[in-house]
Symmetry: C2
DNA sequence: ATCCATTCATACTAACTGGTATCTTCAGAA
DNA sequence: TTCTGAAGATACCAGTTAGTATGAATGGAT
């Protein structure tokens, strides 16, 4: 299976799933999970309910997939920054701005992730908790290594990791793309604030990619 | 009406409301708003549904009251700190630790506040948005005054205000009173991190009350 | 002791919605 | 043109629950 060429049928199925996820993300974000009916999602897609059940087993699966996608985007950024193989200070300088931009991009999925946790099936809630834990642990680990080699001044790496994740995640509740600040500006300023929180020894290494 | 002595009847009514709110807060926090039935709340109180409807008009009113209480606790802390009449730097040094402790104390109401926003009636959602906006504006205002008189180094007071509120609010999702860190320890460390974020000119004025 | 009013339990309804059984339609093959 | 099979629309069901009408019971006042 893996590695085989994708057939047209597979591509069609993937497209349907993608569109369904996008519509559900919009609606769950706007109205909340329980206030959104599957008829609402179907209507926005211009189809009817059985269309959704063909591609997703249930409303719960839709939610689980959206919730997981939010954390995975953040995890991808910390993994990519670590994979550069630089020191902890530079790793963070690369990670934070990218993380902020990733949160802004996927803010609706992130908001759903935060808000709708209690509407997940128990098994999906466990999966999500593991993903979140892994992400925070990744950040904490970089902070700890930075403290140990003297690049970062931090008392409690875990507390600081939570502070960073909280400050950035909070963007999902106030950032408005229609507002006066463009995403890149917000990313730049928020990154400066967050990195400042860490008192990195080389504060001039802040990197913002345009 | 206002200022009159409270009758026994009033006190009884207040007690019933308080207990009902406490039970609802527990359940909404554990299971989520929509997954909690009023029969659940009544059962935990050892009564039945009509008891609740006597004191609260509806399930929505219960939610609205819980959501508002979370923000009001935080607003009370910034108001109290400002009322001391000290400079912005010291105001923040007083505010932040108290704010952290307030969030820990009222964390369940805060979590509900964040998660269940979309389940509020439109009018209640507007009220909540105003309360939130006022709170952030209060923090932002102190930061701006601190920047203007040179006590605080901050580029964008609004962004920094959101960063502070986000970092602290996030406690509601990870702080565990059964965990290794006592509330006062967490408050102390989180306060240090947050105040460090501001590069106050007098970083040695951090005040933690035991 | 009796009466009365308020409080709350019992029992019910009406509305909603996730999920599904059935039928229709349409694209492509022969 | 006809056949076939799958995708999706129609129509429906079953379970849930916010909210309420009615009646019982309790506790205070006289």
């Amino acid at each position: 299976m893996a590695g085989e060429r994708m057939t047209i049928g597979d591509e069609v199925a993937a497209l349907k799933r993608e569109r369904t996820l996008a519509a559900a993300t919009e609606l769950f974000y706007e109205k909340g999970y329980t206030n959104t009916t599957l008829d609402d999602v179907a209507e926005r897609l211009g189809v009817t309910k059985p269309f959704i059940y063909k591609n997703f087993g249930s409303k719960h699966m839709l939610l689980a997939e959206i919730c997981a996608s939010g954390v995975q985007a953040a995890q991808a950024e910390i993994d990519a920054a670590i994979a550069l193989g630089k020191g902890p200070g530079e790793t963070l300088s690369v990670f934070v701005p990218r993380y902020v931009e990733a949160i802004i991009t996927t803010r609706k999925a992130i908001a759903i992730n935060i808000r709708e946790e209690k509407n997940l099936l128990p098994a999906d809630a466990v999966t999500l908790a593991r993903l979140r834990h892994k992400f925070v642990a990744s950040v904490e680990d970089v902070l700890r290594r930075g403290r140990d080699n003297g690049e970062i001044e931090v008392t409690d790496p875990r507390i600081s990791a939570f502070a960073i994740v909280g400050a950035v995640s909070w963007l999902t509740f106030w950032y408005n793309p229609e507002g006066p600040l463009a995403a890149t500006e917000v990313a730049e300023r928020m990154s400066a604030v967050v990195l400042n929180l860490l008192e990195t020894v080389q504060p001039d290494t802040l990197q913002i990619d345009a």
